[in-house]
């Protein structure tokens, strides 16, 4: 049963928010110790670009970057492999955050301009392997709240329909 995805409008919003806060307190530790830390920006951008192409929701994008951060923190990874890692993180995040039919398909991924420009071809086998490795690493715990998970709720609490900014309704901004 798929009801509207806007949980922050529903009756359960306060409960869901509390559960997210509780989860947030128990997030895995991040040390920023990846040997490839200098590449983080590049791969975070890649995730952002690809997730825009597939119009994935902000929480999927943020979760993907967070998964990438956690994984890079624990492994020494070659640049080539990082492409696969980053895109697998995005796939996993979209599988957790999105409806199933919004999850990017392999052929769609491979046909993206940015992928062909990089001469990057993903194979099903590689992606599956990497996804399983990620899931094992995170012990299937993909319920990791990020800023994106909170923002809609806080906006709905903090901004009223009649609030103005420079004379314009804030809600439109």
């Amino acid at each position: 049963m798929e009801l509207e995805g806007q949980w922050w409008r529903g009756q359960l919003a306060a409960d869901i928010h509390q559960a997210l806060r509780y989860k947030e307190l128990k997030l895995p530790s991040y040390k920023g110790q990846s040997p490839q830390l200098s590449l983080r920006r590049y791969f975070a951008d890649l995730i952002a670009i690809v997730s825009n192409r597939f119009t994935l929701c902000p929480s999927a994008r943020h979760l993907a970057v967070y998964l990438l951060d956690l994984f890079m923190d624990r492994y020494d990874i070659s640049i080539q492999q990082l492409h696969l890692v980053a895109l697998s993180c995005l796939l996993l995040a979209s599988k957790f955050e999105e409806k199933e039919d919004s999850v990017p398909k392999l052929e769609q991924l491979n046909s993206l301009g940015c992928m062909t420009n990089m001469n990057l071809v993903l194979t099903k086998q590689n992606l599956l392997h990497m996804e399983l490795l990620l899931l094992e690493t995170f012990q299937w715990n993909l319920c990791l709240p990020t800023a994106a998970h909170f923002i809609e709720y806080y906006l709905s609490e903090a901004v009223h329909e009649t609030d103005l900014h420079d004379g314009w309704p804030m809600i439109c901004l």
Binding site: G10, Y75, L92, L120, H129, T137
Partner: protein, 394 residues
Amino acid sequence: MSACREIALLRELKHPNVIALQKVFLSHSDRKVWLLFDYAEHDLWKPANILVMGEGPERGRVKIADMGFARLFNSPLKPLADLDPVVVTFWYRAPELLLGARHYTKAIDIWAIGCIFAELLTSEPIFHCRQEDIKTSNPFHHDQLDRIFSVMGFPADKDWEDIRKMPEYPTLQKDFRRTTYANSSLIKYMEKHKVKPDSKVFLLLQKLLTMDPTKRITSEQALQDPYFQEDPLPTLDVFAGCQIPYPKREFLNEDEPEEKGDKNQQPPQNQHQQPTAPPPQAAAPPQAPPPQQNSTQTNGTSGTGAGVGAAGAGLQHSQDSGLSQVPPNKKPRLGPSGANSGGPVMPADYQHSSSRLNYQSSVQGSSQSQSTLGYSASSQQSSQYHSSHQTHRY
């Protein structure tokens, strides 16, 4: 909903009255996912897979199992549906959902609890109805609403004022006549089943099965209901220390057909696989993996297809590092073979993980496992997901 999400969410559930997912096992070689659940002896009730624990530290405790997978199994994405038509039960669905309510509410769950409560009292699903094909995306289910009104009567305007605001209200007006149900009432229905309208149990049922969601009792109020203050008082052990009236589940033994020669029934040696569960109760058969052998998906864990065995250079890390923090200078190295080379990227050392996962059986093409997997920490194995609902009716 993706299998990946289901499993990740199941990992979150920890409650004394919920069957816990203890462990997820991956079998990289044939790309299967095994789920290890708590073991409960008796199927108490079919609707929500409500189980009751047998002898042991949690004797007589009721547990809910399988919430997510029931839905996953009903998912229209599976090609299996072609062979075995998949239907969804709307018997427990609240009237406001059938009339197009857009938000999930606690009241929706209370209605479903009311349905199960009635079923416990009468041994039949109160809103039993011909099951419909999964493909309908319309919330409005004529037959189901008809069944609800046949039991409850058509709601009077004063009983549910906001019914007019429901998205499907015009359809309701078009398709239904109040007079059709003039002789129906919950009182009459329950009297047929020897439940008196002035009994505390009936009064509670009536509050649970209130058509207007805003007037329906809340769980907090229900727990304070006089029904729970009268004898017999609620007990943690539903058998209240008496002998368990159900036959013990039979052992499933190694005669069970197995498709894998390499199946290993030893408990996993690796520390990763220590069962975290309280000992003998904890073993349960893995439910068959959500990823289907013949899934149509091309991406992700639910995908299938190509074998995984290909080995190649590229990955020189030790899989054992798993979750532990690794100092930068000792980081496992994900090696140089490129994602763009077309060459094998992963293989090699990922094979280690499949050797860790020597605990596997194989069930092809069905997500309701019929074959059961031995797990020798436990003296009994049996799938809680099949067989003998009727023998355990309460």
